[in-house]
Symmetry: D2
């Protein structure tokens, strides 16, 4: 029986993965945000020439679906590693941000 997936568990796996390959010296916050933005752009690349309608159907093609899922994983990987080195709790950060946005953009 495996424990359910959660953010902390994935951060542990990512940290062990990087440590086993001696990659931590490369994982400065500056480098991690660069890598995060590069992965986000690889997602954009998949969509750049699509119409809005085509973009809504990307998951219907198995190969594109796999590519999108893979890039989503890469973005999340760098985001979680960044949070780990900076001591940020990403879920709490987002929860607090939604609170602030609810005050900033009151629903009509």
């Amino acid at each position: 029986m495996t424990e359910p997936l959660d953010v902390a568990k994935l951060q542990r796996r990512l940290a062990e993965f990087a440590a086993a390959r001696n990659w931590q010296p490369y994982h400065t916050p500056k480098n991690l945000v660069a890598a995060l933005s590069v992965e986000a752009s690889e997602l954009v690349e998949i969509f750049q020439w699509l119409t809005p309608e085509e973009s809504a159907r990307v998951m219907a093609d198995a190969q594109t679906a796999e590519r999108v899922t893979d890039e989503v994983a890469d973005v999340l990987a760098y985001l979680l590693q960044l949070c780990e080195v900076l001591g940020i709790d990403p879920l709490a950060a987002l929860d607090a941000k939604i609170d602030r946005n609810e005050r900033r953009f009151p629903a009509p």
Copy 2:
């Protein structure tokens, strides 16, 4: 008593937030990946002129720490909304990606 934070709960909050403001028509996958990459670049902007050493100390300054945390939240917000509209489970995607990377880059 509040239930603990998790990804599904945050996705629910984000979906309700967007629905209450009629923002869903803007949330095509193409637009969401663009917004994701813009937020990732706002993180890069904080670090762009810093040395690697300065980048490692960003959380020591309260104002910068808040700015970084805020941008992390924005990146995560768009990533989760993208996953929601595409039907991707981000944690499972990352777990599978680490599995693949372990085979692709065997530890020494």
Copy 3:
């Protein structure tokens, strides 16, 4: 009478501007490409929620037109400064690239 604008003249202005403010130590190639990508994303931000049709009309609004023109200038500024520190001739690089693309993607 002023000499006509060209890339070399603008690179000279940019170099003098940076030198007068002692900004050269910040202008490593790594930092300049980061800044370039941040400015490119500021352009994306202007367009991120627009439909293709709306995006084709951005110059009709004077304020948006000014913002777009300003961001174009920022992208070009960092691109020219990067080329300057790396010794790349941007126009020759593009001319050679179009030659290669003509061989790679023959016109039908």
Copy 4:
């Protein structure tokens, strides 16, 4: 004898290249800024794990130099095509921006 390279000539070559392949329908401003930001990120990718010192020596390696030059060409290609479809003169835009920056950041 060939005429010297200039921005207008390159814009003409790019426009003819796109027209010959019927690519103009894809070249909305929104798509071109996305492509521009993707190419800028491909430049970032080359530098993302380098130290500042390593980044200053990228042109010493012939293969990396070629890769950097190629990405610079791609960024410029999309920037010039964007300017073409929007009717922006990129050199004049930058010249005006440097004027504004000289007033905004007076030299010490």
